[in-house]
């Protein structure tokens, strides 16, 4: 599993891997928002956590396309299916690679980009914590969506339609936690739910992803 993880990480950072693209997309979306809603600092500060969460969702979504599809196209996925590692392990390894190359950089970059949106440092801290707890869920849920659509030519948009509704609970609890934290309220409930969603997704979704991969490899 480690070998698969390292292979995916290497592929992601090399040419054509799209390593920095998720971050770049994140930056662009954050830059677009003030053009859309106006530059007033109070407005931006209030919507900043939500916007950063939504931008993180979209950036995570973008790099999901290549998760299984590239390997499926050149037959590597079929080889992985016959490997000693169970497909569930393949799914979780790829989701982990996706998180390390997309979710983790987003988490670290988010407070920095928050400066553009007048995000308060306190809210920035909560944002980083919630993203750290929530982005693993995004990667695993996304891996499930990618597994469902791996055989399709235009799988990307369909995958977004399938994956984004499943992202909603994570978004709700994550953004709510940041909001409550930055207002100084008690934040345990949404944080626990967020961590619970991540934990449950990591534990259970790889089985669904593997089932979908097996169907698509038939």
């Amino acid at each position: 599993m480690r070998a698969l993880l390292i292979r995916d990480l290497r592929l992601a950072v090399r040419a054509g891997g799209g390593f920095g693209l998720g971050l770049a997309f994140f930056l662009i979306v954050v830059v677009l928002v003030p053009f859309g809603v106006g530059p007033e600092p109070s407005v931006l500060a209030r919507i900043a956590p939500g916007i950063l969460w939504v931008a993180a969702l979209l950036a995570a979504l973008l790099s999901l396309d290549r998760l299984f599809a590239l390997d499926h196209e050149d037959g590597a996925l079929a080889l992985l299916a016959t490997a000693p590692l169970p497909l569930e392990g393949v799914a979780i390894a790829k989701a982990a690679a996706h998180w390390i190359t997309t979710g983790l950089p987003l988490t670290i970059a988010a407070p920095a980009l928050g400066f553009l949106l007048h995000l308060s440092p306190q809210a920035g801290g909560w944002l980083m914590l919630t993203l750290a707890l929530g982005t693993p869920a995004l990667s695993v849920i996304g891996a499930f969506g990618a597994a469902l659509t791996v055989g399709l030519k235009r799988g990307g948009l369909l995958m977004s339609l399938i994956v984004l509704p499943m992202y909603m609970p994570t978004l709700i609890f994550g953004a709510e936690a940041v909001r409550r934290g930055s207002e100084g309220l008690v934040v345990t409930a949404p944080l626990l739910f967020l961590a619970g969603i991540s934990a449950g997704a990591i534990a259970l979704l790889p089985f669904a992803s593997a089932a979908a991969l097996r169907v698509n490899l038939r």
């Binding site: 469902l148 055989g151 339609l161 509704p165 909603m168 609970p169 709700i172 969603i197 979704l205 169907v215």
Partner: protein, 244 residues
């Protein structure tokens, strides 16, 4: 004599087709009686006036939207476990009906909401959950349409239905957490005293029965159509292979 006999497409069609006109008729009767009674023969609510009467469309549609998804979930599980094609096709057939029910619920809710709350839409938990349910339906139907091989499509959409169900329930509680909401609590219950007075309750139950029968009739008919479409596909594939 077991229910699994109806997994045979021919027996399914032979049994359901003669019943269909009766089911449609019963649905029409219940809906006709329920709606006319509800709209014309119940008094206006002292607070809401006559707009409350949209409850006869809104509540049954909302109930059927949820029940349709549950039926799709059960049918998907039967497909995954017992590989009965009729079950997979029934799930596929039920999805558009469920979508329309969800849209009716959302639309009538908006029409009701405008005089009641002064807005066509509010991010109230129940409305939001229904919107999310609508999106899950869309994803399900889109996945069916996107995949060429019917058995692969049945498998993948079944898995999506199962995972989607978990997330739909999770979303419902997440949305409740997110916004406490203006939509009233449960109006009907089997054990607690009803919040909706008797005068409205009887036509409402008839309308719910009518919508349920309508759902049944539509799904049975559409499943029959899907079975025939599969047969046509198989025939076409067979002739193409014979000519090759």
């Amino acid at each position: 004599m077991s229910i699994w006999e109806y997994a045979n497409p021919r027996k399914f069609l032979a049994t359901t087709e003669p019943f269909l006109p009766w089911v449609f008729g019963a649905a029409g009767l219940c809906l006709g009686v329920g709606l006319i009674w509800g709209f014309f023969f119940t008094p206006d609510d002292y607070r809401q006036g006559s707009t409350v009467k949209i409850i006869y469309l809104h509540v049954p549609a909302a109930m059927m939207a949820i029940n349709a998804w549950i039926m799709m979930l059960v049918a998907s599980l039967i497909w995954l476990i017992r590989r009965h094609h009729v079950s997979a096709l029934a799930a596929r057939a039920a999805a558009p009906v469920g979508i329309v029910m969800t849209l009716i619920a959302l639309f009538t809710g908006a029409v009701w909401g405008q005089p009641m709350w002064g807005t066509w839409w509010a991010w109230d938990p129940r409305l939001t959950s229904f919107l999310i349910l609508f999106l899950f339906y869309l994803g399900y139907v889109a996945l069916w349409e996107a995949i060429a091989d019917p058995d692969t499509a049945a498998d993948l959409t079944s898995v999506l239905c199962m995972v989607g169900s978990v997330f739909a329930v999770l979303s419902r509680y997440a949305v409740n957490f997110w916004n406490q909401g203006l939509h009233q609590g449960a109006s009907l219950s089997l054990d607690r005293e009803e919040n909706v007075s008797d005068v409205y309750w009887q036509p409402l139950v008839i309308c719910m029965t009518g919508f349920g029968l309508l759902f049944l009739a539509l799904v049975l008919q559409r499943t029959g159509t899907e079975i025939r479409l599969r047969r046509a596909q198989a025939l076409r594939a067979r002739t193409e292979r014979a000519q090759a």
